[in-house]
């Protein structure tokens, strides 16, 4: 696609439920990043993929969070047993490779846990 696409745009879920957030990067981009942006804050790094493998997952806050990128393109961020503190905008970005400094961002998924 022309840009990074994230779906859904907004997601409301009940506390304790499981959610999946999808990111479709720019075609041909091998590097993919997930960030979490809480209200009034800057984005915080969660995980980075180079190809199919997670090259750095040190930003994942706990084991309820998991992300996959099985074919090196689309990525899914999975959150189990959601908590109200998980409410945030989840941003995805991609770049041609991990050496290229220009990352292109999607419009994010706003997750609200009620």
């Amino acid at each position: 696609g022309a840009g990074v696409s994230q779906t859904p745009s907004n997601k409301v879920t009940e506390k304790g439920k499981y959610v999946e957030l999808r990111c479709d990067p720019i075609s041909g981009h091998t590097a993919l990043y997930w960030y979490r942006q809480s209200l009034g804050q800057g984005p915080e790094f969660l995980i980075y993929f180079q190809g199919t493998g997670a090259a750095d997952d040190s930003g994942l806050p706990n084991d309820r969070f998991f992300a996959v990128r099985p074919e090196g393109s689309v990525s899914t961020l999975k959150i189990q047993r959601t908590e109200r503190g998980d409410s945030a905008v989840y941003l995805c970005a991609s770049s041609i490779d991990s050496y290229n400094t220009e990352a292109f961002f999607g419009q994010g998924t706003r997750l609200t846990v009620v």
Binding site: A31, G42, Y48
Partner: protein, 114 residues
């Protein structure tokens, strides 16, 4: 760990005037990149300007320029001839040369008054 600080939560400027947004950072690295991103209400992060730490010359992109003071670890953004479309949240960000993740500041909300 690297940190990025933006001490101005909000700034305002008259249309056609000039405004400067401040950013300081802390790192023990000698080689890195600095960025300014714009985030309008659509939530999509848009790269405004980028500076390589090894370059002494300040980066310029049309009406946007930076004042990079490496010794002081300061990286301010100057917007000249401000336009209504410049109104947005602006984030300063840091990336190590050998790394891939971006570390963001807290952001500055810029208002442009007609």
């Amino acid at each position: 760990a690297q940190t990025v600080t933006q001490s101005q939560p909000e700034m305002s400027v008259q249309e056609a005037e000039t405004v400067t947004l401040s950013c300081t950072y802390d790192t023990s690295e000698s080689d890195y990149y600095l960025f300014w991103y714009k985030q309008p209400p659509s939530r999509q992060m848009i790269l405004v300007i980028r500076q390589e730490a090894y370059k002494q010359q300040n980066a310029t992109e049309n009406r946007f320029s930076v004042n990079f003071q490496k010794a002081a670890k300061s990286f301010s953004l100057k917007i000249s001839d401000s336009q209504l479309g410049d109104a947005a949240m602006y984030f300063c960000a840091y990336r190590r040369n050998s790394g891939s993740r971006l570390t963001f500041g807290e952001g500055t909300q810029l208002t442009v008054n007609p």
